[in-house]
Symmetry: C2
Subunit: 325 residues, 2 copies
């Protein structure tokens, strides 16, 4: 089939660094993303978003990206101008993030379907994984979280007539959080070079969901101080405007693409120097949430915006494992 | 997002051979494949098919496969048993073809969407492409063609009450052609090792479409002798049963996954020894079709079963090219 369309061959060919391992990931983007439904996202931004989610997975492993494929199923009435802009946005984003769009597959479909695959490379002997966190490690995040969730909460409430109009500067910044998430393509590989980073993943379904997954993969709990968590300033503004707890927003929702990280306890200064902010530590047993010195009232906030069916993923995993072990 | 589900990390990691280049390809499979609509394809066969089309692209470049990702968008009512069987079929096929399923992305969707990405490796200095055919080269195919097309024509006619029932052995073999196409994972890399193979692609949309694409990529025409073309025996049987020209079937339709190849004219014996059958040669100017010594009545048969929108692919290609040149 017409793959590697950039090259006109069956597949695209990419130089590969010596003594490296291949890292691959794929993502499907719901065609009815809230940002699109609400008319907040341009076609080019949708293309950028499509590349961002796959490339972010590569970065979260500590890998350097090499390239991206787009796989688009389009209805016969899909506007050609929209497609052209979407591809333009994807191509520009891929170039910016060092993961150029190399081709893919565009086919007609009874329903719109948009997905991307990204691939990158890792050294032969190292990777950032979700399973390396150990009791005593410090828990940190790579930037402010909650911006995406605040935007989602605000624009949803607005569309329902349940939110006051924020100043246009705030509204535009919220829109940017929602439609232009940015993968941490430099930080992931930089953390890989540090021996002290013990686990890493990207935040794609809310901080709460990410903490749960990191906890399960590493078989540890966390001691979390929500007051130390760097919330995006607009999370506070939206929280006040619509009357929702800001931590509920940050934990419960959103694709911030920031990295959730653990590292060795004696490396706090180095971690801060690369932009990580500590907000807890790994511990044996269950996760506990504090607000400063006090137990937090709500316990662990929501597990995130679960647009992914856990059951289906489990089936892929289960059906797969016996074949490769 | 939950990629690399086999491993539980953001992405899957694969060892990569030294001094190699990465080859990547992706394909979306229409959820309403005729074989599925007619109830001819099991869930496991659908999974196998999903892997086959991507892996075939890797083989057509002369590359050795390394692995496959599945990207599945599933409706909430998608039967769990069907999904389990689909994944089982994909995993088994990936293992058979040396392209193990390493994970992917399974998400809920308003419509079913199934795609796969495959990746493989090539030496640093060689690849089989579509652009290398030169005037005087011999044109050949890796096996019998038309089996898929014959099956599609037969079962379509049958569903419309326009075909007699063939013997059950023939019908079962036709079903196998339709639902279990097999990528030439050994032959592709074997041809790469031969210096005499000048171009290669897999046949996924009928031989006519493939010839057109090879012709355009290499900027040459072909002198084709249809009487030398190895047709799958069932093409003749179906041709008689439904009253359609067998060459129309082979040229006009079908995903045989055989390799369409050109090679240097003095290597006919070596080419035959690896299973290639010559049926023409490359020439300057337009393609001409003969039947033995006589001009063929119909000229070049149909351009194939175009389930891919040429326009959309072109947009990806055009939007992409300026960024990488």
């Amino acid at each position: 089939m017409p793959q590697g369309v950039g090259a006109g061959d069956d597949a695209a060919v990419v130089p590969f660094p010596p003594a490296s391992r291949l890292v691959v990931s794929s993502d499907r983007i719901p065609e009815d993303l809230l940002a699109r439904r609400l008319g907040l996202m341009s076609a080019a931004e949708f293309g950028q978003y499509l590349v961002a989610v796959s490339v972010s997975d590569i970065a979260a492993m500590g890998a350097k990206p090499l390239g991206t494929l787009l796989t688009l199923g389009l209805t016969s009435d899909f506007p050609v101008d929209y497609l052209r802009e979407l591809v333009r946005g994807a191509v520009a984003a891929g170039r910016t993030w060092g993961s150029p769009v190399l081709g893919g597959d565009t086919s007609s479909s009874s329903a719109i379907s948009l997905s991307s695959s990204a691939f990158g490379h890792l050294p032969a002997d190292r990777a950032l994984t979700r399973s390396g966190a150990r009791s005593g490690d410090i828990l940190a995040v790579s930037g402010a979280v909650g911006g995406f969730g605040a935007a989602l909460a605000y624009f949803t409430a607005q569309s329902e007539g349940a939110a006051p109009q924020l100043p246009s500067k705030s509204a535009e910044e919220l829109r940017a959080r929602l439609v232009r998430p940015t993968p941490r393509v430099d930080l992931g590989p930089a953390l890989l070079e540090r021996e002290w980073c013990t686990s890493c993943m990207d935040i794609t379904d809310g901080l709460g969901q990410s903490l749960t997954e990191l906890s399960e993969a590493s078989q540890i709990g966390f001691d979390i101080d929500v007051e130390a968590l760097p919330l995006h300033p607009l999370t506070w503004e939206v929280s006040k405007a619509i009357g929702v707890d800001p931590y509920e927003i940050a934990f419960g929702i959103g694709l911030d693409l920031e990295l959730l990280v653990t590292f060795k306890a004696d490396r706090l200064r180095e971690a801060e120097s690369v932009g990580l902010t500590a907000f807890g530590s790994a511990r044996a047993g269950f996760t506990q949430v504090r607000a400063g010195g006090r137990p937090a009232q709500a316990g662990v906030p929501g597990r995130g915006w679960e647009h992914f069916g856990g059951d289906a993923s489990d089936f892929v995993a289960r059906a797969h494992r016996p074949e490769t072990s």
